[in-house]
């Protein structure tokens, strides 16, 4: 059943609606609740396919549903409609506006209503697609603060990597932090790249969602085998590679590549002079789990993240 979670008046003859679809079991009570949230950043579209594919598979065997699945495909409908990452008209990052304030400004009030609606879920998945600049291996990011509760769940989600961050980098104004710190376990998925849909990643994550639903007793059918993710935890350090000069980035290796120290990941070019400004090499052996997709770089632009170490 489609429900409007938030409604706000826009200036000229239009209301903003943030909607969810609630899938309920055919028999018995509502059971436990899994919430799938995406579309916070209007330029990230990987979650759109996940919302669709998950529902198609549930609709094929609705009698196996033993709990509630709430699907929120578009927390930022205006951003999705206008290829805008943030909230159009305000130039604000919606994922820096949580937990919001019920009596605050429009964006704060919207954020507060979203949090209110999601609280009480037994599990929430917040699906992101990096941004238009970077491509990511399917991964879950967890803050160290909530690792004890979230890591066992993250291992079931059929992602390739679980990256546990040190709590020095905690961002308190994200949706995930707001929910986790209020007792609603929330996993942040990052996968693929902005402005695109990678169907294979979507299908991979949907398998993981079924595995998680089975774990919580929300799904009674057979579930696919899930892969065991690589888990990176502090004090292990991820290597960040930033552009040493401005130019045009030409990537040589794709995300997911296994690297030896010294391998060339890509080059930064000067098309005006027909020159290579620099070759970017791996500082360590490791796994290329993030790589830059967008060719234009400023000095400092992120090019890659590498998880050090060999095969695990």
């Amino acid at each position: 059943m489609i429900k409007t979670v938030v409604r706000v008046g826009l200036p000229v003859g239009e209301d903003l609606h943030i909607r969810k679809n609630r899938l309920s079991p055919q028999t018995g009570g509502p059971g436990r609740r899994v919430s799938i949230v995406t579309g916070t950043h209007g330029d990230e579209l990987e979650g759109q396919y996940v919302c669709y594919a998950l529902q198609r598979r549930i609709q094929a065997q609705p009698e196996l549903l033993r709990g509630t699945v709430d699907i929120y495909p578009a927390l930022n409908p205006l951003g999705l409609n206008s290829v805008t990452r943030g909230i159009p008209g305000f130039d604000l990052d919606m994922n820096r506006s949580f937990p919001g304030q019920p009596d605050g400004d429009m964006n704060e009030a919207v954020a507060a209503e979203i949090v209110q609606d999601l609280l009480g879920s037994d599990l929430c998945l917040d699906i992101h697609a990096s941004n238009i600049f970077l491509t990511e291996i399917p991964q879950i990011r967890i803050n160290e603060l909530h690792a004890a509760q979230l890591l066992p769940l993250a291992r079931l989600a059929n992602v390739d990597l679980v990256w546990v961050h040190s709590n020095a980098t905690v961002l308190e104004s994200t949706l995930a932090y707001s929910l986790n710190s209020r007792g609603t376990p929330t996993l942040v998925v990052e996968m693929g790249v902005g402005m695109r849909i990678t169907k294979s990643y979507g299908d991979q994550l949907v398998d993981g969602i079924f595995r998680l639903m089975a774990e919580l007793g929300v799904w009674r059918g057979d579930v696919p085998e899930v892969r065991a993710p690589v888990v990176s935890q502090p004090p292990e350090e991820v290597a960040f590679l930033n552009a040493p000069v401005s130019g045009i980035w030409l990537k040589h290796l794709d995300h997911g590549a296994r690297l030896r120290a010294g391998d060339v990941l890509g080059e930064i070019l000067d098309p005006l002079r027909g020159q290579v400004l620099c070759a970017v090499t791996a500082p360590v052996d490791g796994w290329l789990f993030t790589v830059r997709e967008y060719p234009v770089v400023d000095q400092g632009s992120l090019l890659a993240r590498i998880l050090p170490g060999g095969e695990r």
Partner: protein, 311 residues
């Protein structure tokens, strides 16, 4: 006056990115003034350009106190100003959310680190800034309650209000916060406008800064114009009044105006019918601190802020 490059980096197709500073006098780093960090902060740039002009004149007249150095950085982000974009050109990040910066990090972290490295040892720091909401403000000094803030000194700018506010999580990455943490007495000044130049308010800001410098014995100078005995208010005591409908926004008041409890401050008109949809009314007597200055408003958006009366 000495013109200097505070930070620079190369671009592929644009002129070099340069943050330019203007130093007056020599010796102890005494006072640093920073203007626009976002591409639409024209008023902030204008004020700093006027300060550079006035300080140049005062230096030529021998009015600077010896062994004290003053640095003005009118603009930290010329790239964004030149394309009329509020945040960083390529990734839309905000330099004023990147302090103290990181020299090996992303582009705007590097800009913040490069600038902060040059300005962190000053005794006093002044930043001209803006809010994300479009509107006109009553001129005020804003200081963050870090435990190091100095409200008595903030009063010496002689602006009508000093607003104290408790830092929220994202405030810890602003210049003001980091200045304070690193022992600079930091003040953020807000004037009437942002993306439009308001000359009377800019003039008031220039006099406020010069008067403050005279007070701190950095300058031999007599303040022109009015010196207010600033009222110190907590930001949480300000009353935010929101539009309960979307539509055309018409205000009846201007910043600085005194209003009575029950007075109508603004109204919202239906965008198609032209009829009045709702009114914004003062719940208490006070002074208007902020008024939205856009033609239209969304629903439940702050359109007026009031500072309640003392009594």
């Amino acid at each position: 006056m000495e013109r200097q490059i505070v930070y620079e980096s190369r671009s592929l197709y644009r002129d070099d990115f340069r943050v330019t500073g203007f130093a007056f006098g020599q010796g102890e780093p005494a006072m640093c003034i920073v203007g626009s960090m976002r591409g639409n902060e024209y008023q902030q740039l204008y004020i700093c350009s006027q300060l550079v002009r006035r300080l140049g004149e005062l230096e030529a007249q021998g009015r600077l106190v010896p062994d004290r150095q003053i640095l003005v950085i009118p603009c930290v982000n010329p790239y964004s100003m030149n394309l009329q974009k509020r945040f960083w050109c390529i990734d839309n990040t905000d330099i004023n959310r990147m302090f103290p910066g990181y020299a090996l990090g992303e582009t705007t972290q590097r800009v913040a680190a490069g600038v902060f490295d040059q300005i962190q040892r000053y005794q006093y720091g002044v930043q001209f800034s803006s809010f994300y909401m479009p509107g006109a403000f009553v001129p005020h000094v804003r200081i963050m309650k870090t435990g190091y803030e100095d409200r008595e000194m903030a009063v010496r700018f002689g602006l009508p209000y000093v607003v104290l506010h408790a830092p929220r999580p994202f405030d810890t990455t602003t210049l003001n916060y980091n200045w304070q943490i690193w022992d600079t007495k930091a003040f953020t000044l807000y004037t009437a406008s942002n993306s439009r130049v308001d000359r009377p308010s800019a003039h008031q800001a220039v006099e406020a800064v010069l008067g403050f410098m005279a007070d701190q014995d950095l300058l031999r100078y007599h303040r022109h114009g009015s010196f207010y005995l600033s009222r110190v208010v907590e930001s949480e005591d300000m009353i935010a009044l929101r539009a309960d409908r979307a539509g055309f926004f018409e205000s009846f008041v201007v910043p600085g105006q005194e209003v009575e409890a029950g007075e109508d401050l603004a109204r919202i008109l239906d965008p198609y019918l032209g009829t009045e949809q709702s009114r914004v009314t003062a719940p208490a007597a006070g002074t208007v601190a902020f008024v939205r200055d856009e033609a239209m408003t969304y629903e439940s958006t702050t359109v007026v802020k009031l500072i309640p009366s003392d009594d």
